[in-house]
Amino acid sequence: MSEEASSVAAAVADAHRREWALVLAATVRVTRDLDVAEECAQDAFAAALTDWRTSGVPARPGAWLTTTAKRRALNVLRHRGVERRALPLLVEEPTVPGPAELLDERLEDVPLPDHRLRLIATCCHPALGQAAQVALTLRLVCGLSTAEVARAFLVPEATMAARLTRAKKKIAAARIPYRVPPAAELPERVDAVLAVVHLLFTTGHTTPTGGELVRRDLVERSLDLCRMLRQLLPEDPGVTGLLALLLLTDARRDTRTGSDGRLLLLDEQDRSRWDHRAIVEGAALVREALRHRPPSRYALQAAIAAVHAESPTWTDTDWHEILALYGVLGSVWPSPVVALNRAVAVGFAEGAQAGLAALDALADERQLAGYGYFAAARADFLRRLGRVAEARSAYEEALELTGNTVERTFLAARLNGLGAGRDG
């Protein structure tokens, strides 16, 4: 590839990552059909690869791509006019602009109306199952190919294609509206969107199965999405809190494994290599998010992450502050996993015996029964208390429930390190 062609390819790839959602969301307004809009948006990016080599990369690539995609859509609509009438159309607000009006939006210097929130709200509509919400968001908002979405969730491409088709069919047939939810419903709808972004992040932060600890692609997509939401809903405390949480958690990414690939816990990580720019940004967002009352669950989780991020060493960790934050989090968002994390913090604040007691109080929580981190936390407290035989069986249980290779190696090493203890 010539230097010019590769610089154009890089510009198109960059535009794809930044502008895909904007281009698609505006095109859906013209086609009122997700599939046709996807085709037209893809065509526009393909056209950019050749056109930009002769005309140069436009000053506003997003505007160029949107105009191209919308013009294509109008052509497609003219050609398919007759057959399309039989198709169910996406429901729009009552005041649907005419095609001419839609094309006028391309006028230079007029800021393009941002329809991304409609697109995101449709993808994360509560009438769709969460697996479908996540798949649609990756495909339509992030612009991943079906193959890439399938890879992200380790399912065969045909399975993912069927899941996406089924979801889009439901959107059309059940008339899930393509609009920004009314103010009264917005908080609930935003919660669903945040849950999707958070799930993407956690899946990438520690992949449930496989050889790598982190899936960078998923982590970065979730950060992109969260930044997009922050731009669209700057006042929303949940969005602010989630972005803070993702930044503060991801700031540790490069230090979570050693040079030999071994898992390093917080006490072993090289804090000088944490991403301090992300920490500064995240900490400022936490302060902003905590001003809202009551604070959102994400703001509180981020505040806990901030205590770790801002602590100069492991031994300086303010466990009492962390415990207090878990107390508030447990009242805002009661969940067995929060209770588990709190119990672990008790172990560091008040000693392994207290931690173990807090954990054992949760033994009847059904949600924790098959949860590897619960067994791993118990194993760790038992090991620190020198109760080797019990620690051994807890590590074995944790190993059975853990699919990530890096975490498994860590647990196996701890298990081997137990040796023949005093009661083993």
Binding site: V91, P94, H125, A127, A174, R175, I176, P177, P181, E185
Partner: protein
């Protein structure tokens, strides 16, 4: 506009043992519901209550007659409303206020052939 069927699934046993006061409340709830549908931007096109599944007769493969409902479930189809609504959100708003104290409802879009 589109049509949606709101299917009401409830535990029949609860109705069998309900006091007259409770049954009166249920009747009143349905009357109030009918009066409020239009406030949600939708229109009530029809609706009926069904006799319990003990009165049902099913035909499998078109011929074999059996006593009872097509599918045995704890919460059985006991009635429906047919509404016209601009989109799923409006239909769900109607579904949310549909009385179903002993169960819940399912919303299904209706196919229109033209």
């Amino acid at each position: 506009m589109a049509q949606y069927m709101i299917l009401i699934y409830e535990d029949e046993a609860q109705y069998a043992t309900a006091t007259p006061e409770v049954l009166g409340e249920v009747m009143q709830a349905h009357t109030d519901f009918a009066a409020q549908v239009e406030e949600r931007g939708a229109k009530l096109l029809g609706g009926e209550a069904l006799q319990p599944t003990g009165t049902a007769t099913s035909l499998r493969g078109g011929s074999e007659v059996t006593d009872g409902p097509f599918v045995e479930t704890k919460e059985a189809l006991g009635g429906y409303y047919l509404v016209e609504a601009p989109d799923l959100d409006a239909a769900l708003a109607v579904a949310r206020m549909t009385p179903a104290r002993f169960g819940g409802v399912e919303v299904r879009p209706v196919i229109t052939f033209d």
